[in-house]
Amino acid sequence: MSQVVVLPRTLLDQVKAELRAAAWFAALGEPLTDGDRADAEGYARALGLGALVLGQASDWPEAERVLKAPDWSPIWWDREETQRRRLLVEAEARYPERALWTALTELTTELGDVVHGRAGVAAARMAGAAKASVHVAAGAAAQAAYQLALARLAEDAASPFESKFRLFAAGRWPLGVVGSTLILF
C-alpha cells in the first residue's frame, strides 16, 4: 500500500513559477521554430498518435475554424483524458485526496486570470478573434497547467503534458489533430 504524505510544497511552488514565467500566447501566428517542431513531435509521440503532419493556423479566425472542425480527431483528446485519469490515480495514491484536489483547483484558478489576460492581449494584438475565443484559449491554457501539475505530482517525466506545456510556455497553442495533421497556432 502506498504511503500517503502531505503535498510537496516545493514542487508545487516550482510548477507555479514555471507557469508564471511562461510566454502564454506570445508567439501565436509566428513562424514555427525547430524547438516548436521538436516539442510537437514529442507530444504526439508520447500520446502514441503515430506519424502526423505538423500544420499551423496563422490567425485567430483560422484557429477558430480548426477548433470547430466537424472532422476533428477525438483521439488526441481521449488519449489525453486517459493519461490524466491515470496520473490522477497515481497522485491520489501519494497524497491526501482533498488536499490534492484543492491544490490543483487553486493552482488552476489562480492561473486562470493570468492566462485569460495574456490571451486577451494576444487577441487584441492580432485582431480578428471572436470574444469567446479568448475564453477558449484561457481554458486550453488552464487545462495544460492542470495537466502539468498532475504529471509533476505523479512524477511522470515522460508525460505528454510536459511537451504540451513547453509549447504553451514558448507562446504556442496546440490546437489538436484534424485528419492526420497536428495543428499549432
Binding site: E64, L67, K68, A69, P70, W72, W77, E81, T105, E106, T108, T109, G112, H116, A132, S133, H135, V136, A137, A138, G139, A140, A142, Q143, L175, G176
Partner: protein
Amino acid sequence: MSDPIVVKTVEELKSAPEEYREAIAKLVISHAINELYGAQVFDEPAIAYAPTPYAKWLTCRVAMEEYGHHVRFKQLGLQIGIPEERMMPGAGKRPLSIFEFPLKTWEEFVAIKLLADLAEILQVEDLLHCTFHPLRNLARATMPEERFHAQFGEDFSAELVKTPKGKARLQAAVNEYYPYLPSFFGGSKSKNNEIFRKWRIKQRTNDEMRQDFIKRASEVAAKYGLTLPEVRQAA
C-alpha cells in the same frame, strides 16, 4: 426605518450585531457550497460531452470560473472565521435539489447555462448593493463571469436550435431541468430572507426574485423558440 449599518471591512464585521454576522455567514456558506456543487456536478462533466475542442475548452474555462467563485467565497468565509469544512459539500447543509440530477448530455448543460445561470445572475445581482462591502465587492467581481456563462448558454442554444433534432433535444433538457429552478430562490416565508433584507444584505424578497426570474427565463427561452414547462410555486 433607521439607516442600515454599513460594514466596510472584514475587521469591522467583528463588531457587527450577531444576527448580521450570522446572516453573512449563512450566505457565504450557501454560495461556497453551491458554486462547488455546480462546478463538480455540471461544469466539469460537461467537458466530456462538448462536441468540439472549441466547446470543450470554453467549458473548461467556465468550469474553472465556477470553481473560482467557490474559492472566492471560501476565502471570504475563512477571513470571517467560518471553518473550511462548513463550506464544503457534505458538511450538513443540503445542496439544491437540481444537483441531485447529474448531467447526461451536452444539451442539458446548455439548458443549465441558459436558465440556471440566469438564476445565479439574479442571486448575485441581489448582492451588488450589499451592506457588507467585502461580499458586495465579491459579487461585483463575480457578475461579469456569471453573465458570460449565461451568454454561453445563449450562444450554444442558438447553435442547437438550427436543426429540428437539436431544438427538440434542447427543449427536452429545458423541460427536465427548468422545474427545479424557481425553488432555487427559497420559500415565500423565509425567515432568512427577512433577516437579509432587514440588514440590507439582500434587497428583494424570494418571491420578487422568483417572479423576475420566471419573466426573464420566459423571455430568453422565447428568443430561441423554446417554451418553459409549468411549475408549481414554492410555498
